[in-house]
Symmetry: C2
Subunit: 407 residues, 2 copies
């Protein structure tokens, strides 16, 4: 397998040292709009000659397709901002390559009733091209990071091995990460978080999708391995669009454990009109308020060494077990920032996103996972993935309901 990894930002750079420990591929070309950033990412392979870097404009479909052909890559691994998803997705299709991403094509709110009905949903533009991918016999594996990604695989595992009927698949993401030396420093991009959190959250229920007001259905979820209770709210996320396509569940939700403080900050930014990405005029200056907000906070990619704590991604499944009795489990994956910094030089949130697509590519390279068309992670057998994840040194866990009650 020859891989064109597009994007040498936080996650793209974290992919390199993870992949460098594995033998399944022949070469990785790391591409970025900035050549030096691509080269810095390659440097994390510690001299492994299977990595090289190029400069590439991810928004230029023809240029990307040409790069795939020139470097004889059979898979495009998309690790850039979702604004570029469609140009990369179509470039891979043009060049006859397989494709993998961690965030799907963007949504647009319903014009009349944004907080009741979905408009264009996450991934809609990609699924519209499913026939073309099938016709070419190529695989587009979409939403294959941690969330979406591992979270969807947990849902598949629960459906195949733990439940005879699923009432709810509830993705729950939370952490106890703190950044030392700052009064307030998010551990992920506030620009992206505003985008995610202010889009109308989407929920699958009784055979259809609907949307809600931002920050809806707040709940306190008790995260495992010492993280503890964190306030979570509905957020628009790919799992809600992916899981119902392959798994029979009455309800699918995604709740983000932002915590009360962060939710308060986001609500205040919205209330004051400081969330908008549109430019506004102030005296002689023109500025997007959201850009100012981001500029006033430290860059989370630079905070790994000041960060402490653990991050958890997981899938809470409720329904009826294979024995016919009510069952409730939380399948989860926890990364300790201290460990990921020491072992891979990557902060926990970024590292946790980067490992799962590497595992998935190894399963595709070995033929354990195969298929054509536009497929989510839950379209594949979960067991080989979860087994290989442990082999990578990153175990997952499961908490039964009875334990949750006792916690």
């Amino acid at each position: 397998m020859r891989i064109l990894l597009v994007g040498a930002g936080g996650v793209g750079s974290a992919v390199v040292p993870i992949a460098a420990r594995r033998k399944f591929f022949e070469h990785v070309v790391v591409a970025d709009s900035k050549q030096d950033r691509a080269a810095q990412a390659v440097a994390k392979a510690g001299g492994d000659p299977r990595f090289s870097s190029i400069q590439l404009d991810a928004s230029n479909r023809a240029e990307v397709a040409a790069a795939l052909r020139e470097h004889r890559c059979d898979v495009l691994f998309n690790a850039v901002d979702p604004r570029f998803t469609m140009s990369l997705f179509e470039a891979a299709l043009d060049a006859g390559a397989h494709y993998l991403d961690m965030a799907m094509s963007l949504s647009r709110p319903h014009p009349a009733e944004p907080y009741r009905k979905p408009g264009v949903k996450l991934g809609d533009e990609q699924f519209a091209l499913d026939g073309e991918w099938r016709a070419k016999g190529r695989l587009a594996l979409v939403g294959m990071g941690v969330e979406p990604g591992l979270a969807d695989i947990f849902a598949r595992y629960a459906a195949d091995h733990l439940f005879s009927r699923i009432d709810e698949v509830g993705i729950r993401d939370g952490s106890n990460l703190v950044v030392e030396g700052y009064e307030f420093a998010p551990t992920f991009s506030i620009w992206t978080t505003i985008e995610e959190c202010l889009n109308p959250p989407v929920v699958w229920e009784d055979g259809d999708w609907h949307t809600t007001e931002p920050f809806s259905e707040p709940e306190i979820f008790d995260f495992p391995e010492g993280i503890g209770p964190v306030e979570c709210v509905n957020v628009e996320h790919e799992e809600v669009l992916l899981v119902p396509r392959w798994i029979d569940a009455r309800r699918v939700t995604f709740k983000y454990g932002l915590g009360q403080e962060f939710i308060g900050v986001l609500k205040t930014l919205r209330k004051l009109g400081l969330d908008t990405a549109e430019k506004v005029r102030v005296g002689a200056a023109e500025i997007a308020p959201r850009d100012l907000v981001a500029a006033r906070l430290p860059d989370p990619a630079t905070l790994g060494s000041r960060m402490r704590g653990k991050t958890c991604a997981g899938t809470w499944v409720k329904g009826v077990g294979v024995d016919g009795a009510p069952r409730e489990v939380y399948l989860y994956h926890v990364v300790d920032n201290e460990w990921s910094m020491a072992e891979y030089g990557s902060q926990a949130v970024v590292w946790q996103t980067a490992i799962h697509p590497v595992v998935a590519l190894e399963l595709v390279a070995s033929g354990v996972w195969s298929g054509s068309g536009v497929l989510g992670p839950e379209a594949f057998d979960a067991v080989p993935f979860l087994t290989m994840l442990e082999e990578y040194g990153s175990p997952w866990g499961m908490r039964e309901h009875s334990l949750m009650r006792a916690a």
Copy 2:
């Protein structure tokens, strides 16, 4: 009396229709950096020939002194931003005029221990020139709006007529004003509110001033006339600097009834570094974050017709009554926005600030109040003021402690 009213903003404009109903002065020259704004304020006198307008730069001491002489004004009434207090104060001294303001010269935090000790206090620069005012036999009546102003007069009244010993003078300001049609719209300048609330609050206690952290000592105060309970916090304000100079009180505080929502907004702005008035660079633009915040919210001066509710200013006094028994009273002044809009075309907060200096000027013009040097409102007899306030059609009230408990 001939008055040079400097500043035709919200309060300056509201002064005109109040003064126009009175006979005590010969002429008011309304001066503003913008000639048309001064002319618009004069138009509120309904054709009264005792009002005229000029263009004037309030920061230019020589120009202001020349205007006082040219228009033969014997008093300068300062109704501009406190950044211009010193140039106007000194211009009046130069020209041999009396002087009145509603906000005193600005403070500067203690360089080493800003949240324990005061640095340069509000009014310090003005009191430093007390000797010169006395020598010239001219009066500088400082802090003569509603708060400071009426609140200080209430303290004087309590000391002279209600108490034999005062333990605490606690100014408490709150409202139930809401602005229809906006999710969030402060009824006063957020720029100024940030300035006031993020300066270290000052407290008088046991013979000296000290400062605290912003938003300290939160309490719920139950305001009268249907306003009800509002969360109040310590804020830097002139009364705390003025009252102890003339009234014997163990403790003097000022708490602003911002309410939980507004306090939350201010804390968030501070946490995100969006409170600063210093310019920061974002991409190609340079901008002061506080200017952006202000620009995103509606201008409170334009909201009077959409506003509903009442605003209350008052002084809570605790101690021992003249009969030797413990006593606790709240002396207050409430303005209903509906009334002030209908009667004067001014929103309640602005109108409540504008009326008291007009009453004070009438007392000075008639010789009931007289003196020389830099004096606060509590340096004068409160009774004629409170009597005249009722004559102006704007009554005040008093709530006894026992009633407060029952409320």
